[in-house]
């Protein structure tokens, strides 16, 4: 629920810290056990039981032997979906032994972050202030506080909303054009109805009902189409990026929003298209 961290960065530190709570199968040999991501296993043709050498230096100096005791499916990270997660998880002591400087005792006992579960998560801000006051140099923040990750999705959502706005605008014009043509086609019918004694109000209500029905059926068709293709869309992108992330999901909120936009739009288009006809007299409508 809470993370306290030093600015010093060690990418694997967090991975190892997480492993403290992950039960690893004990390796039969003396080599310590590690878990590797499925993507790494596939990229390097590794299997459970294989022994590998890991080093903190790209040159491979001071490498250590490890045994692959498991292959895991990494939790999908929406911010890194375009990059294959080639990750290894080690026990924290093994990681510190691998990355620490033997001449520097402090480096053997340094982590990037400590996750803290508070008894009452509502105390997160007070706890952060307390940590900052007692431990200068350590920054602490609630894991639920907004950060760059949430900002990214807020921006992406705004982008998609803007695209949707332009699309709806185009659709509205399309609908209006269609309704104008359909109403024009019914010029004679409307004229006869008016001459028979139908009031403007009644015809208007009829037009509204028709517009609402068309919009409702159209929106329902659109939603059904979206539900039908969401699987294809997700499967394509999941295959493309080798991830379990869900890219498209038709939720009740999305369906509701579509209906809220589509139905008034349909009624509005019908009314706008019918208005010029209804203003005329019955005789004036006859060609």
């Amino acid at each position: 629920m809470f993370a306290a961290s030093r600015p010093r960065a060690a990418t694997w530190g967090l991975i190892a810290a997480l492993l403290v709570s992950v039960p690893l199968v004990a390796a039969p040999a003396e080599a310590p056990g590690i878990l590797i991501s499925r993507q790494l296993a596939e990229a390097r043709h590794l299997a459970v039981g294989d022994e590998v050498r890991l080093a903190a230096e790209p040159s491979g100096t001071a490498s250590r032997q490890f045994r692959v005791v498991g292959i895991y499916e990494p939790t999908p990270d929406p911010l890194r979906f375009a990059q294959p997660p080639l990750d290894v998880r080690l026990h924290l002591p093994d990681l510190l032994a691998l990355t620490g400087d033997p001449a520097d005792a402090a480096s053997q006992d340094a982590v990037t972050a400590i996750n803290v579960a508070l008894a009452d998560p509502a105390d997160a801000d007070a706890f952060a202030r307390d940590v900052a006051g007692r431990l200068p140099g350590v920054t602490a923040r609630a894991t639920s506080s907004p950060d760059a990750r949430t900002n990214t999705f807020v921006v992406i959502e705004r982008f998609h909303t803007a695209i949707a706005f332009v699309t709806v605008l185009g659709s509205a014009v399309f609908l209006l054009a269609l309704m104008v043509m359909l109403v024009d086609e019914r010029r004679s019918t409307v004229a006869i109805l008016r001459l028979m004694g139908f009031t403007r109000r009644r015809i208007l209500l009829q037009v509204c009902a028709e517009g609402a029905l068309i919009a409702l059926v159209g929106a329902a068709g659109g939603v059904l189409f979206a539900i039908a293709v969401q699987g294809l869309f997700n499967r394509f992108f999941q295959w493309r990026y080798d991830t379990a992330l869900v890219f498209l999901r038709v939720t009740p909120a999305v369906v509701w929003r579509s209906l809220v936009i589509a139905v008034p739009l349909g009624i509005g288009a019908s009314l706008a298209a019918s208005w010029s006809l209804l203003r005329r007299t019955g005789a004036g409508l006859h060609r």
Binding site: A82, T139, S171, F174
Partner: protein
């Protein structure tokens, strides 16, 4: 001549139904604008990123390993290595770059005491370069570091505002290098100028100085290390040839050209926007086709009697069919032309939204115009116009004159 007559016939049909025509054209304009924007987005990031990379005039990078720049080991004996690479006939210039993180004298304490808000950690990125080579920043105000090699510092506008500094101000920086336990002594610099750095994000605090001064921030007096070397190939030689020459001399180093970086980013980091733009471009194109096809088909069906009469009084089948084709062309063409300025406005709006993504450099844009995008736009819209006209043209071509006229009279 026949074409002109058909065009006039189409024009008369369009002006006779102004509401339908205007709405059709507006619909095509809205859809066309979105299509145009998606074409700008499909390669915008790649083009913009390439422009940023090329802005400094260097077309290749030399690193110690294939790790991401500034995250891997440094190059040792950097000045000797730079001189050796510079001596190659394929190379025109070599710039050494070393980055160091630092805090301004009084900001380090405030930062340490505060709660991290996840945005501004009070850190300043110091870029150290060889002052005898063209810098990687652009001076906006004041002078470059070369004017005061020992203590000169250029800072970006954001840092100048944060520190209240201007050319001539003194700034004390404390390096944050390696272990937190060992704190190097502070170094005082004189701000010589305000500069822009190509990869700065809006909230970045960045400063530039000599590579020796950057090392001094970490308490290293005689360090001769660089994070990377920027290489400019000689005119007419090309980055690939220069990279091959460097590799032949030092096969242990990792050399990557701007084109390779762009290619890698295009395949990985930028691929989402490319694919989402492909999906949306396909959808909008289909939508545009549907719009015009439905409008034309409904229009033709409403005027079958009229078309049959025209055929009966002597208009040829080819002329009537060509009229439908030209009607589609005029509608899509007018809408398509209107869509371009609308597309630019919408693109600027969408670009502003996307550039609020965290970590996006100020100079990077998502929607970038290139003639290729406009060409592709014209081709796609033309194809849509042709496809949209196909079905109503078929209806008109196969229209039985006598039967249709009889039906018209009876109804």
């Amino acid at each position: 001549m026949t074409g002109l007559r058909a065009l006039r016939f189409a024009w008369l049909t369009i002006v006779r139904q102004p509401a339908r025509s205007v709405l059709g054209i507006l619909g095509v304009a809205a859809v066309g604008a979105l299509l145009f924007d998606m074409l700008l987005l499909s390669r915008g990031l790649v083009l913009s990123f390439r422009t940023l990379l090329d802005a400094g005039g260097f077309d290749a990078r030399v690193l110690a390993t294939d790790m991401v720049p500034f995250s891997g080991p440094r190059l040792d004996h950097a000045s000797t290595l730079a001189a050796a690479i510079r001596a190659l006939p394929e190379v025109a210039a070599v710039q050494q770059v070393r980055t160091v993180r630092a805090t301004a004298g009084d900001r380090s304490v405030a930062s340490a005491m505060g709660v991290d808000d996840g945005e501004d950690d009070g850190e300043i990125e110091i870029v150290g370069t060889d002052i005898h080579v063209h810098p990687v920043w652009t001076i906006a105000e004041g002078r470059d570091v070369a004017e005061d090699p020992a203590n000169g510092l250029v800072i970006n506008r954001h840092l100048a505002e944060t520190l209240g500094a201007k050319p001539g101000s003194k700034v004390t920086l404390r390096g944050r290098c390696g272990d937190e336990a060992s704190m190097p002594p502070p170094v005082t610099f004189i701000v010589t100028g305000i500069a822009t750095f190509p990869f700065d994000t809006p909230g970045d605090d960045t400063a530039g100085t000599s590579i020796a001064s950057a090392a001094r921030l970490c308490g290293e007096r005689d360090a001769d290390q660089a994070d990377m070397l920027l290489v400019r190939s000689r005119d007419g030689v090309g980055a690939d040839t220069a990279a091959a020459a460097i590799h032949a001399r030092r096969p242990d180093l990792h050399i990557v050209t701007n084109a390779e970086i762009v290619d890698q980013f295009s395949r990985l980091q930028f691929s989402y926007f490319r694919q989402i733009s492909s999906v949306l471009a396909t959808v909008t194109l289909f939508f545009g086709f549907l719009l015009v096809a439905v409008l034309l088909t409904v229009s033709v069906n409403q005027h079958l009697g009229e078309i049959a009469t025209l055929r009966a009084i002597g208009l040829t089948r080819a002329r009537v069919v060509a009229g439908i084709f030209w009607e589609s062309v005029v509608m899509v063409g007018t809408g398509g032309v209107l869509a371009v300025p609308i597309g630019f406005v919408v693109a600027a709006w969408l670009d502003r939204i996307l550039r609020r993504l965290p970590g996006i450099p100020t100079g990077l844009h998502f929607f970038v115009f290139e003639p290729r995008a406009l060409g592709l736009y014209v081709v796609l819209l033309s194809a849509a116009a042709l496809a949209a006209a196909a079905y109503p043209m078929r209806i008109v071509a196969g229209l039985p004159i006598a039967g249709t006229l009889r039906q018209e009279v009876v109804s």
